[in-house]
């Protein structure tokens, strides 16, 4: 468990405002490894009896956080806990609530494998420029910021099946709603990048009831079942070819930008720190927070059947692809039958929302406006015109 988490859950809420942890400064130059402890995902079961929910708000009395700190993109950071049988889920999400719960929209975002909730940091900033009333809830999957552990042994549970990840997402959404005392979930657009796309698509297909009537639609960013399954065989090679250790955050940011993994400096500065933890060898180096190789047994399962689910889920559908259109047969037929909206962004790489945050935000705000049922005015039906005595 992270220090930040332990500290916050052990702190009785909400009396001790001034004991809240400081915004964690993002180290910018040659910091020592101890400052990265916040990113540690080691578990500590002793905290399980503490308040299940804790909110961290930045305090103005603290020293100013660096420009890439989460407080610059989101209003709140929530630590949420749910115990189910032998399993304790400690969830971490970022939230900016919508200004009007009835109108929304709330964009619920899920990152891809190996990324984090900060993958939507720049997007969150940009969407608020276009839709100042919008809310953003950015979820973090297990081993990506949230932890799922055995209640007695405290050991992390290794289960990256799609069902488990979907049930985590449901828990995070429900816990956030109760934390915020929302009676109903505000009008919602789901956004999933990559693996997150598979999770959000499943939510919209089989778990849409948790949203009541609030689910407006969903957007999948740069993942298509056919091409994803095809590329799986290359993934292990890819993973083994990327650096496994960085000497500093700057180093890691530079690698992400130079390798064009993330094609926007500001986005990389915002998201890359959250991908790293200090190396357990204590040599001051940084390693990846998420061990992607350990998730490989589930890769196929994540994407299988995704196209079918995408086409049949509840609500409006938007698919954003990077580079070229790589639709599989099922989506190609669906697209040419007009079943969903497809937008291809040639200049973007896989991390579309980080590469072109402004454009992504523009697309999503348009998508919401178009499908916002409270604002929708369709031309009258012929039958209604006749009833009104109008000549048609």
């Amino acid at each position: 468990m992270s220090d930040l988490f332990r500290q916050s859950v052990n702190t009785p809420q909400p009396q001790n405002q001034n004991l809240r942890p400081k915004p964690t400064p993002i180290p910018t130059q040659g910091r020592s490894s101890s400052e990265y402890d916040d990113y540690s995902s080691s578990s500590d079961s002793s905290a399980s009896s503490a308040a299940s929910v804790a909110t961290v708000r930045p305090s103005s009395r603290e020293h100013e956080a660096p420009p890439t700190h989460w407080t610059n993109y989101f209003e709140q950071e929530l630590f949420l806990e749910r115990t189910e049988g032998e399993q304790v889920g400690r969830y971490h999400v970022y939230l900016t609530p919508p200004t009007d719960l009835k109108k929304g929209p709330l964009f619920i975002c899920h990152h891809g494998a190996g990324a984090s909730g900060m993958s939507f940091a720049m997007f969150a900033q940009e969407i608020r420029k276009k839709l100042p009333e919008a809310g953003i809830l950015s979820l973090e999957a297990r081993a990506h910021g949230s932890t799922i552990a055995n209640a007695t042994s405290g050991e992390s549970i290794i289960d990256f099946s799609l069902e488990a990840l979907v049930s985590d997402a449901v828990s995070m959404i429900q816990l956030t709603a109760s934390n915020q005392s929302w009676s109903t979930i505000p009008p919602t657009v789901l956004i999933g990048h990559s693996l997150g796309g598979a999770i959000m698509t499943t939510l919209a297909t089989t778990h849409f009831r948790i949203f009541g009537p609030s689910l407006i639609g969903y957007c999948v960013i740069d993942v298509v079942e056919g091409s994803a399954l095809e590329a799986l065989s290359h993934m292990k090679t890819y993973l083994s070819s990327r650096p496994s250790i960085f000497s500093s955050v700057e180093d890691a940011v530079t690698w992400h930008v130079r390798s064009r993994t993330i094609r926007d400096q500001r986005s990389a500065e915002a998201s890359v720190p959250s991908l790293l933890i200090s190396s357990p060898t204590g040599n001051g180096k940084l390693i990846w927070k998420t061990d992607l190789m350990s998730t490989s047994p589930w890769w196929d399962q994540w994407f299988q059947g995704m196209s079918q689910k995408f086409l049949t889920g509840r609500g409006a559908k938007l698919l954003i692809l990077a580079g070229t259109d790589r639709l599989d047969k099922e989506l190609m037929i669906g697209q040419m039958q007009g079943k969903f909206q497809l937008t291809v962004i040639p200049e973007a790489g896989h991390f579309v929302q980080e590469d072109v945050p402004e454009k992504t935000a523009g697309l999503l705000s348009e998508f919401f406006r178009r499908n916002d049922r409270s604002q929708m005015v369709l031309p009258p039906k012929v039958g209604d015109l006749i009833k009104q005595g109008k000549k048609v």
């Binding site: 740069d222 590329a231 037929i333 040419m336 499908n371």
Partner: protein, 425 residues
């Protein structure tokens, strides 16, 4: 052999023509297209084709099945480019044919005939690959802006012109050839099936809606308008009983809530990039759907429209049928809403992977009065008495669908398989 004929021969062999010739061709095509109205009038007989999407070899198969230009009069409903590997050759060939035989081929605009769409879906990249510069793409896009938005087919016959064709299944050969409304042929020209008019085209591929026709509102009134179908002066062109199939509107996508008469299409300023919204956008983007009234299109542009909208529009404009493309149909064509609208799709095995067949639709000329498109002459609603009492809906023209499969592909010109994405988890 003129330069144009040489260019046609070269393009038929699927070889691009030099950039300078493309420039000249596009210039000539624009001069020709600028003279066309937003809604082109086309006289039957005509063969109507849907999306092509750069599938050059399948376009050749289409010409083999449907007959060559200028022997057959063609109407292509847009989406010539993108997705397939030979958008350039396909579009330039069609354009050459248009310039060479302007009265025998009509091209209208699809949503892919746009700068924005072609930059993303392949045509731009193809031009760049084949010419090393974007000039040819630019010339073509300038032509796109001049393509008509729709076509009105006049003088289509109620009865199909008889053809001398064998049945694919000889046991059916005693099927009555009289009063056939729909005839289905395979790519060998064999008849697959016939549907007589009294059965109203209740075939498998037709999706007939049960929507009752909306209450007739003009039957007893004196018609206030009086002219050719599809004009503001329209009342009915049913003139001579039992002859006309009525006028057929062809458009790439469908209807628009901003367009209640064909004259309103004529008033649009079409010489521009396809806008993101508005009437012109809707005509190229909308889809019919099993809904009541109008709906939001899942495509993010245009609308969905129901049977009531089609019925109302067809009555008001004196149309017997709307013919459109834009949506992939696995069977090549699909009639909807009691055969008041049909989707025709002409790209077999779309994008080399969808496994669908393609179709073209032939409308015969009206044999009863030598192809003369009947105009009302004050003798209103005469046909109404002849046809069914309960429906004052115009009977559709006889429709002959030729269904065909993808041509064998050669792999020349196919771009190397795209490298798979580095990272996608």
């Amino acid at each position: 052999m003129s330069d144009l004929d040489k260019a046609i021969a070269q393009l038929r062999a699927c070889r691009p023509i030099p950039e300078i010739q493309v420039r000249e061709l596009c210039y000539k095509a624009r001069e020709l297209l600028i003279e066309e109205g937003n809604v082109v009038s086309v006289d039957a007989p005509v063969t109507i084709c849907g999306d092509i999407h750069g599938q050059f070899h399948d376009l050749m198969e289409l010409f083999r099945v449907g007959g060559d230009v200028p022997d057959t009069n063609y109407l292509f409903m847009g989406d010539f480019v993108d997705r397939g590997f030979y958008s350039l050759e396909s579009f330039l060939l069609l354009l050459c044919l248009k310039v060479r035989y302007p009265d025998r081929i009509t091209l209208i605009r699809g949503n892919h005939e746009s700068r924005q769409i072609t930059t993303v879906y392949g045509f731009y990249d193809e031009c760049l690959r084949k010419y090393g510069s974007a000039n040819v793409w630019r010339y073509c896009c300038d032509v796109f802006d001049y393509l008509a938005l729709g076509a009105l087919v006049m003088g289509a016959g109620h009865d199909l012109a008889p053809i001398d064709a064998p049945f694919a299944d000889p046991s059916q050969s005693n099927t009555d050839a009289d009063d056939v409304e729909i005839e289905l042929l395979n790519s060998q020209g064999q008849i697959l099936s016939r549907f007589p008019r009294n059965r109203g085209g209740t075939q498998d591929t037709s999706q007939l809606s049960n929507t009752p026709s909306s209450p007739s509102q003009t039957k007893e009134q004196t018609p206030s308008r009086n002219g050719a179908p599809g004009t503001g002066a329209t009342s009915t062109s049913g003139g001579s009983a039992n002859n006309s199939g009525g006028a057929v509107l062809c458009v790439h996508g469908g209807l628009s809530p901003l367009i209640d008469s064909i004259d309103k299409i004529r008033l649009l300023d079409r010489k521009q990039e396809v806008p993101h919204e508005g009437a012109m956008c809707d005509l190229l983007w909308s889809d019919p759907d099993e809904i009541d009234g109008w709906g939001l299109s899942p495509r993010g542009a245009g609308f969905l429209f129901g049977a009531d909208i089609v019925d109302c529009f067809n009555r008001k404009n004196d149309l017997s049928l709307i013919c459109r493309a834009h949506q992939l149909v696995m069977e090549g064509f699909k009639e909807m809403f009691s055969s008041t609208i049909v989707t025709v799709w002409s790209a077999p095995n779309y994008c080399y992977r969808c496994g669908n067949v393609a179709a073209i639709l032939e409308l015969s000329e009206d044999g009863a009065n030598a192809g003369y498109a009947p105009r009302s002459n004050g003798d209103m609603n005469r046909s109404n008495g002849v046809q069914s009492e309960k429906e004052d809906k115009r009977p559709g023209p006889g429709r002959r669908y030729r269904v065909f499969d993808a041509a064998p592909q050669d792999s020349r010109g196919m771009p190397a398989k795209k490298p798979v994405a580095d990272y996608f988890l």
